[in-house]
């Protein structure tokens, strides 16, 4: 095993593999950093270029995009508070406040180093357990998936600072959004009012871009006295330089947090169809629940950044486990990677590791090497990336809005996605004004279709509803979901006596 890995790493000394990996990582960082351009989109853009390459060259470029993208998202998330892609959402919760408190350098480098360590730990996991972990995920039938999603929703509703009812209501809004359009089983139009536009439903990404971009931009516009300046002055560029030793120490000084976030990321990555956004949100929530100072979360605590960024990079490792062991994509990005493998005539699946071992270990090597490359790109480019925040808001806002439109349009090549973007821009701003937390809304959006599909599947497979509580894994997950709600209620009751005023929480 180690000689194969060594050989894989050795392959990347050749320029023909190193260059695609390098370019892929750079493109990933840029794509991940740009709000409205997701990793999925970036990897789809890279896909046509990989057709002309050798399989390992193409896959190295894609692994680079994936790793670079997960890290790149943290730049915009921490510096301007707009997640560059969905899995940076939880990075904004603490990264942005820390950056606004005058420590953008610390926030960014905490994120980068957490990504680095989380990713590498994910890589160790990937190499060690590819076969074994996927066996567990395979045991998940529709009952277990349904229970898992319930657990995820109940946990994230506990994220909200305000009432649990409001958090759950936001989650329900997310679920409602996914019920609009044709139903996922028989394609019966629902809530479409007879229009073609609504028949397509509300695609997840335009909704997400709309809700986040407009909630952020419009809040900036309403508050700002002058839009002639950026969020950061020239002085803050200098402050991006922080003591790397200190930042690394801050992360490694919390080994339990790092390992646990990494574990959550890997686990969510291995489970198909959940993806990085759920991983970072869940890891963030876990970190908050387990912290000795949960009240500091959301105000710029380093733990929040570490949990979110370590988990979303570890999630990449987890997704690669599933795609390499079973040929089952864990998310849209790995679905595209699987497509690229199929086009090159590579059979993914149980035989992949043994029949295509050179390629498999090549992918491992690419994944491991992408992390130091990402670190180098950040070290050279982070100063440059910070210029985004010194650009006056009046110039940044129109460009971000145009990129959001381009991103929404390119996802599906229709103006319909752009209308959805605009509608949910207004909705998102309205919800923020009513004090709704956005994280449960987004999780509801991500999981909505899957919850319904797995519920229907469970009933189609066996009409016995008791299976949800008699199948052990499903029962355990549902018990955890109930426990999570009860715990959140108990925690609030305890803290209600302390806090009585209604805070103005826009985010």
């Amino acid at each position: 095993m180690f000689d194969l890995l060594a050989q894989g790493l050795g392959d990347f000394l050749q320029l023909k593999y190193l260059v695609p990996l390098l370019v892929g990582t750079l493109v990933g960082v840029v794509g991940g950093a740009l709000p409205g351009i997701t990793i999925t989109m970036t990897v789809i853009m890279v896909l046509p270029f990989t057709f002309g390459l050798e399989p390992l060259q193409g896959l190295a470029a894609m692994v680079g995009v994936y790793v670079g993208g997960e890290s790149g998202g943290l730049i915009t998330a921490t510096l301007i508070g707009i997640p560059g892609k969905p899995s940076s959402i939880s990075t904004t919760f603490d990264g942005f406040p820390m950056s606004r408190k005058g420590e953008p350098g610390r926030a960014v480098w905490l994120g980068i180093w957490s990504s680095f360590f989380g990713g590498l730990l994910g890589g160790v996991f990937l190499i060690a357990t590819t076969g074994w972990l996927a066996q567990i995920a395979l045991q998940f039938g529709p009952w277990e998936f349904f229970a898992l999603f319930m657990f995820a929703l109940s946990m994230v509703a506990g994220l909200t600072e305000e009432s649990l009812a409001k958090g759950l209501l936001a989650g329900a809004f997310g679920l409602i959004i996914t019920t609009v359009g044709t139903d996922p089983i028989m394609s019966v139009p629902r809530f479409t009012l007879g229009t073609d536009f609504l028949a397509g439903g509300f695609p997840f990404l335009p909704v997400l871009i709309g809700v986040f971009a407009f909630a952020q931009i419009m809040t900036d516009i309403e508050r700002a006295r002058s839009l002639a300046v950026g969020d950061a002055g020239a002085g803050q560029i200098v402050s991006l330089a922080v003591s790397q030793m200190k930042v690394v120490g801050e992360i490694l000084g919390r080994p339990f947090l790092l390992l646990w976030s990494t574990f959550v990321g890997i686990l969510i990555g291995v489970l198909p169809a959940i993806g990085g956004s759920a991983a970072s949100v869940m890891a963030y929530d876990q970190a908050k629940k387990l912290s000795r100072h949960p009240e500091r979360f959301g105000t710029g605590t380093p733990e929040g950044i570490i949990a979110s960024e370590a988990s979303n990079n570890a999630n990449v490792g987890g997704s690669l486990v599933t795609i390499m062991a079973f040929g089952i994509p864990g998310d849209a990005v790995t679905a595209v990677m699987l497509g690229a493998m199929t086009i090159h005539g590579i059979q993914s699946g149980p035989l992949f590791m043994s029949q295509e071992s050179a390629l498999a270990y090549g992918i491992f090597a690419a994944y491991l090497l992408a992390h130091p490359i990402m670190l180098a790109i950040m070290a050279i480019g982070a100063r440059w990336f910070l210029r985004i925040v010194t650009v006056p808001k009046s110039m940044l806002i129109p460009v971000v809005l145009v990129l959001c439109v381009v991103g929404a349009y390119a996802l599906n090549n229709t103006m319909a996605s752009v209308w959805v973007l605009a509608i949910f821009g207004v909705v998102g701003y309205g919800l923020v004004k009513l004090g709704f937390p956005l994280a449960p809304l987004i999780l509801g959006l991500i999981l909505g279709d899957q919850i319904e599909v797995n519920l229907v599947r469970a009933l189609m497979t066996d009409s016995n509803l008791w299976l949800f509580v008699t199948r052990p894994i499903s029962a355990l997950l549902l018990a955890l979901a109930v426990g999570s709600v009860v715990f959140a209620l108990w925690q609030r009751r305890r803290s209600r006596s302390v806090r009585t005023d209604e805070p103005d929480t826009d985010f």
Partner: protein, 158 residues
């Protein structure tokens, strides 16, 4: 004392109204011979939960009879927010007709002027340069290298 609705009351009422409105629409959906539960089953659960949560929120607020939080200090520029939404709306409505390049040029230039009226020739040049940069090269890069065809104008042909 007259009861001014609090923010949570409005939020709860929104859940109630949305849940009830959509619940009414779940009647009459066709059933399938293959699926044991109809396409109305799951939405009804979600909508019922929404109404329940909305009710909890409203009742909770009424029971506490908390005074509405005082409006946040400092003026908020809602006029500019509305104008930005308007500009964005006009932009995407014009996009299919004018094509990406013209619509984006006008939008990027226009919104910059709206958000921060330029003073002096230097600023005008910067505004126009950014508008050109956001339209022409973006279109070219996406079409030539990223294989994404941004909209061409139905009225203008470009």
């Amino acid at each position: 004392m007259t009861m001014r609705p609090t923010r949570d009351m409005v939020a709860g009422a929104l859940g109630l109204v949305l849940g009830a409105g959509l619940f009414a629409l779940t009647w009459g959906l066709p059933q399938s011979p293959f699926v044991p539960i109809g396409p109305d089953f799951y939405p009804r659960i979600v909508l019922a939960a929404t109404m329940l949560l909305g009710a909890i929120l409203v009742v909770g607020e009424l029971a506490h009879r908390r005074r509405p939080a005082s409006p946040p200090a400092g003026g908020r520029n809602y006029r500019l927010v509305a104008l930005t939404f308007l500009a964005f709306g006009l932009y995407i409505l014009a996009l299919p007709g004018l094509g990406f390049r013209i619509a984006t040029f006008v939008f990027v230039a226009g919104l910059q002027i709206l958000l921060d009226p330029p003073r002096g020739a230097g600023r005008w040049v910067a505004v126009l340069a950014l508008a050109v940069a956001a339209s022409l090269p973006v279109f070219l890069i996406f079409e030539r290298w990223l294989s994404i065809l941004l909209p061409r104008g139905a009225w203008t042909g470009i």
